[in-house]
Symmetry: T
Subunit: 69 residues, 12 copies
């Protein structure tokens, strides 16, 4: 975190395999349109259950990226 201006967006990613993978899924998708993603912060961890098993994890993130001049 140096002296740039950051913009922050909120995203929810999901994954069948776990929390870290849901985070990476959201960041990978965000990277298609946003350059210069620098950090994330987890806001909420949720998930869906089917037949008594966690079917997928959903992780909501704030994602920060530098705004170029």
């Amino acid at each position: 975190m140096d002296d740039n201006v950051y913009k922050i967006v909120e995203l929810t990613g999901s994954s069948k395999s776990g929390i870290e993978d849901a985070i990476q899924t959201a960041i990978t998708r965000a990277g298609k349109t946003l350059r210069n993603i620098r950090w994330f912060e987890v806001l909420e961890t949720r998930g869906h259950v089917e037949n008594g098993k966690v079917a997928h994890y959903q992780v909501s993130l704030k994602v920060g990226f530098t705004v170029e001049d």
Copy 2:
């Protein structure tokens, strides 16, 4: 909430007639530029008062939409 990636934006809508109408106003306006809005969450309900009457309600929302590949 299936296994898509969601993006979340924050909006404030207003209405003279009530809280539900202020929610719909924000979502209608968002729909002009965002396809695939799926859900909303109320963050804050406020309003303006004129001459001792509620002049309009203002409802702040998080609005989630699926990001297409």
Copy 3:
């Protein structure tokens, strides 16, 4: 709120028509198994959007009822 012991449960009700109706829906359903419901508190107001319209409201409540001896 007199000197009884209260138990609190959390419920989410939904309605196509509005927030108050979603509250009543949750309380009506809870009343099938719980006697002596006395009060509620809104925790969260959310909803689903279909084709740019609010399809239904979802209101999460704490519901308090007296526990009889």
Copy 4:
């Protein structure tokens, strides 16, 4: 919100008919002693239940008014 000084008071209004009416009830009563009410913010929405029906809604508000010199 221009460059006045605002004072904020907290009130709870109630209504048998709905949330918006409970808000207006609180503001109408406040207007008997406070001039220049400008805005409100909902803090909490609660209510009482009798015989499985919402008997009345109670809405707690912050109400802001300008302080005159």
Copy 5:
């Protein structure tokens, strides 16, 4: 989240192996008495330490299930 009524219960599960496993442990146990579990939300992640190692993770969840008529 369609137009059902949901009931929400709070549980704490634990696991020696990790956070996802502690979540699944709580949901598996809840499934013995609750049918129709649909989603969970993580409230708190804690754990115990023995001899400088994480001995087990404890994850507190809200778990939502549909209430059948």
Copy 6:
């Protein structure tokens, strides 16, 4: 807090004599139907006033108990 699954319920107890007694009142009542209560956490301390005196204290608790297999 070992590696059991805990279930958490929310209760409000009251007492004319003080906060600790209101806590014990809630736990005593809960113990009539719940075995294995292990801990509590205070969520909120409130009370009623009559004629300028605290008439009774009301303490809201989360109460955790182990779920047996």
Copy 7:
């Protein structure tokens, strides 16, 4: 909590002897100018320490009273 309008004020009371006494001190003082105090809610419990002993407790309260027409 019936269908009156309540006004809420915030007070901090203190006591050398304990938390309940600090609550009563605040309510007694408030009762000199406010009629119809009905309830309180504890916001914060703090205190001062002198020579390693709690010198007095300070309890911040919201106090609600009915507004008469």
Copy 8:
């Protein structure tokens, strides 16, 4: 903070020049009707923007004053 009873009021002050000046503006105005103001706490810092510049800062405060017998 000695063993007095404090009353707390909430105010919003504004200033074109900065945050500290907005705080002082609110306290100066409060001092016209309240004697014995002792402390403040910042609740929220907001502001208005005109033509891409901060036009004024708005700072919401809790202000505590001793209540005399």
Copy 9:
């Protein structure tokens, strides 16, 4: 805040000289792509330290702007 629809974005600005300057930095940068910025709200104030001195302040803001039809 009249009856427009607002969109809210989150930004972090930084400055070597102080908090107000960090706010202005974020708003100036946002103004390059967003017309009609109307208000901001401070979410968080942080900073970096180098050699025992504050090297720069970082202020996170919500910034609201009107959405034109």
Copy 10:
């Protein structure tokens, strides 16, 4: 609170007899290594239950002390 620098530490004290005693227990222990403790703030009140009785109270505190030059 004059113009000193304070350092704040977090502690949990416990007591079989009540909340005030748990606070004093934590402060007494802290006083063995910290001089100049000035104030405390209660963060959380919890406890353990054995055989349907509160076995002991656990109170988490922030404790502030002046840092000497």
Copy 11:
């Protein structure tokens, strides 16, 4: 959690491989100077992103340890 006095410290650990490993990293480091660590609580999960990948996770913890007499 028996009747000891606990002290709580706040730490941030990081790891390239995942959240659990970042927790263990912080606890291992804390164990070099603190004996008797008993529990942790996750406060915040963040991370850095480089080239569209999570470069490392950062987990902030409260860590509690018993204070010996």
Copy 12:
């Protein structure tokens, strides 16, 4: 924030001249015993009032520093 372990301490600094100076005061004092301070986060901004003027500002901070091996 690279892959070090950080320890976080909480401090309150004060200043007659303003918020930034109170922050620097706390960090300067902390730097006498802590090497490697890297960042701070403002938790709370308060102050004392004397004769209707802000007598000094008090800013509570979390201060993070790297722990060396």
